[in-house]
């Protein structure tokens, strides 16, 4: 690759190559507006049992398939057919206000029941017989991002979802630690001396460039985050802390389009009831506090929250009072101006199941992504989602 091509290919080329003077300049570069709509992803890892989350409280098949596991008490009925698990009570007002859209039976053809592989499929937006090495949000960054902090994951390591072909988001479970590492005086000295006249050293140039990016991103996040803005009471758990950090970033107006969070532990093969109940409480209480926080800062209408899990669980319970890996599942979309709030579609038939006894999907998860990209992020989904998808009507 010649020098020109290399520069063109580098997503950061425009501003990054002139060091050390640039190091300063970078931080004061006028914010390139990506548009101000933000997307928050919540990943329920392990395969949340959708049927005990949104409960078909009027369906005998459900109760018969789960003699000891069906939820019978305190269901929060939302219509004649479906209701919330009692732990989702904090989300009731969102539902009533038209700020929550529940899309049922989201999945993909030839579903895979391995956590690992199915999560891979959800994160890369691939088909089940296709292996992609970049994530859907990473590819969004490839074309529409220009700084690593345009997408932040509140974790130690970066999910595949945020890794693009040539551009990655940033992962940090504590942005202060990242900042402290990056400001090591030795690194500062090295960068002050770094001299970028020889671009022939492709890989080395890339390493320095990434080092500079990292330092700038750490600085940017640290200096622009105003902790005081988020004073809402959050529950005391790791997931709530992630959402609180996200709220701090959003309320501080960081130039970040995508936030990625995760709540794990949903793989409930054994004694599901208490486990799922506790996890759904963590989820609902934290999300409720998060939405209140954003509302108080008048930024909720610019934020869309998508919750998904890599698969749902089998209709029939197992012998250990748990459920095994299934297929299609519900997806929650939370936002201010939803086109179709409440239930987006009916729950799939509980009698017409696939050969494993799992729900048949009716909405491809990639059409949910494509809709978010085109209707919310205002970009074309074509380069980002590899297969052509129908645009849905929820936003």
């Amino acid at each position: 690759m010649d020098r020109r091509k290399f520069i063109k290919k580098s997503a950061l080329a425009s501003s990054l190559f002139f060091v050390p003077n640039f190091v300063k300049a970078f931080e004061s570069v006028a914010k390139e507006r990506l548009g101000y709509k933000r997307l928050v992803i919540i990943q329920l890892a392990g395969g949340n049992d959708g049927l005990n989350t949104i409960i078909p409280h009027n369906n005998d098949i459900y109760f018969n398939a789960r003699p000891r596991l069906a939820i019978t008490k305190d269901i929060i009925k939302l219509n004649d057919d479906l209701g919330f698990h009692p732990s989702l009570a904090p989300l009731r007002s969102l539902f009533d206000n038209g700020e929550l859209s529940i899309i049922n039976n989201v999945g993909y053809p030839n579903p895979v029941r391995s956590h690992f592989r199915s999560m891979d499929i959800w994160q890369t937006a691939s088909s089940s017989d296709e292996y992609l090495q970049s994530g859907w949000l990473g590819r969004y960054l490839d074309t529409h991002g220009d700084k690593p902090y345009n997408a932040i994951e509140t974790d130690e390591t970066l999910s595949l979802a945020l890794k693009g072909e040539h551009f990655n988001g940033i992962a940090t479970n504590d942005y202060r630690v990242l900042y402290n590492t990056s400001k090591d005086p030795y690194f500062k000295n090295v960068l002050n001396h770094y001299n970028d006249t020889h671009l022939s050293e492709h890989n080395l140039g890339y390493l320095y460039q990434t080092m500079i990016e990292a330092k700038s991103s750490a600085n940017y996040i640290y200096e622009n985050t105003k902790v005081k803005l988020s004073q809402e009471d959050y529950p005391q758990n790791h997931f709530a802390r992630q959402l609180k950090t996200v709220a701090q970033f959003i309320n501080s107006g960081l130039d970040t389009k995508v936030f990625y969070t995760s709540l794990g532990g949903f793989d409930t093969h054994v004694n599901q009831e208490n486990k799922q109940s506790r996890l759904l409480s963590h989820y609902a209480e934290s999300v409720s506090a998060f939405v209140k926080d954003l509302k108080r800062n008048e930024i909720f209408e610019d934020t869309l929250i998508l919750t998904f899990s890599e698969f749902g669980r089998r209709v029939k319970q197992n012998a250990a009072n748990g459920t095994d890996h299934g297929t299609a599942n519900n997806v929650f979309v939370i936002g201010k101006n939803l086109k179709r709030a409440g239930f987006y579609n009916d729950l799939a038939s509980l009698s017409d199941l696939d050969e494993n006894g799992d729900l048949k999907y009716s909405i491809d998860f990639r059409s949910v992504y494509a809709t978010i990209l085109s209707q919310w992020m205002d970009v074309s989904a074509e380069e980002i989602i590899p297969t052509k998808q129908k645009i849905l009507e929820f936003i």
Partner: protein, 457 residues
Amino acid sequence: MNQKELQHLYWRAGFGTHPKQQKTNTNDRKRVVDTLFKNSKAITSISLDLSYLEGISAIDLKNNPKLTKELSDKGKKKILDYNYAWIHRLINPKELLRERMTLFWTNHFVCRNKNILFVQQYNNTLRTNALGDFRTFVKAISKEPAMLHYLNAKQNRKHKPNENFARELMELFTLGEGQYSENDIKECARAFTGYNHDFKGNFRLRRKQHDYEQKTFFGITGNFDGDAIIDIILESKQCALFISDKIYRYFVNPQPNKKHIESMSDVFFKDYNIENLMRFVFMSDWFYDEENMGSKIKSPIEFLVGIANTVPVKFEREKDFLKIQKLLGQTLLDPPNVAGWKGNKAWIDANTIMVRLKLPSLLLNNAMISLKEDGDFNDNFKKKFFKRNKGKLPFKTLPDWDKFLTNFKSVKTENLQDVIIQGNINKGTLAYLETLNKKSKQDYCIQLMSLPEYQMC
């Protein structure tokens, strides 16, 4: 061979070297390379104590969900133990080149499994065949229980074929994308129907599920089984070219050189002998070209093992190994998907670069990277620094600096960069290094390891 060439060879065929090790080497390339192969003739498996699985049968598990759960939990821990044992092996290899090749094949025949018995068997199959006959290797892989699970071979039955393995066999393992038709995949899948294994991990062909009808594959019709299909695939020179290309990018330079790769494929196509191919690479003049030295970004494992090769370090908590692998983005036995780790630039992003730059000082020097200034200021700075960091370090390690000083005795501190850094150093950075006082070999070593240049090999 000069010192740079020796270092280059040892970084690619192993995980670096140090001056004391090199002293015993001769300058004759052929003898050095011969020794490398001779020392890797033996095969030393990595085997954990799995006696707790003895006497347990499939029926026991079916009837006893509690036992199944217990074994699955224990299995998860054992897989971590295997990961640690493998890292220890890489740091202290018995057969250096064989271990290096095993690591390479891990990211070629990519596989992941939850059953420790199958994981261990698979890993040792890679090790056994790492320098052997590629044909035998592919056939062995197609019958490994871990692979049978991973690519759904067990769901591949007569009249209900599952194409997952058939597709990856050609796309990722032998020929590369676009070298076959969809119909070839269908016919190939039929040949592998009925592939299965028993509870202990022995291969079994389930005759009732195997499709014994005629298949037409790559224009040839016959009653093929899986092995016959592999033979047909290997008749195509494209297979030798595909593997040569991958080996070149991994062992020589991430930027492919068509001419060199073609000469490799000529050698490989003759007999698909991996040892002959690797010998050809390490004996070629072009392998030692300036442009190939230090051209590759170290993988997290190369990075970690390389550090430990330079400064021997004891990890007090094995789980720190796992933490480091996760932070750097490569956990052995846990690949992202069947395509494996992308490698080279893909290792580096804003997160991993900071961890990499900081890791040597964290592991070897209580997180301290010393500065130019000496005297009171530096001592004070150090004192304050250690006080601030006390008890806060993420890893518990015991570096053996005495061993380092012995191993690097023959190198003057001011020349240390020539043996620690493999490629060119940025001009500005080199100017900065010149201003450092270099009173302590240890401090200078940490300083060098904390550079972007140290990420290359």
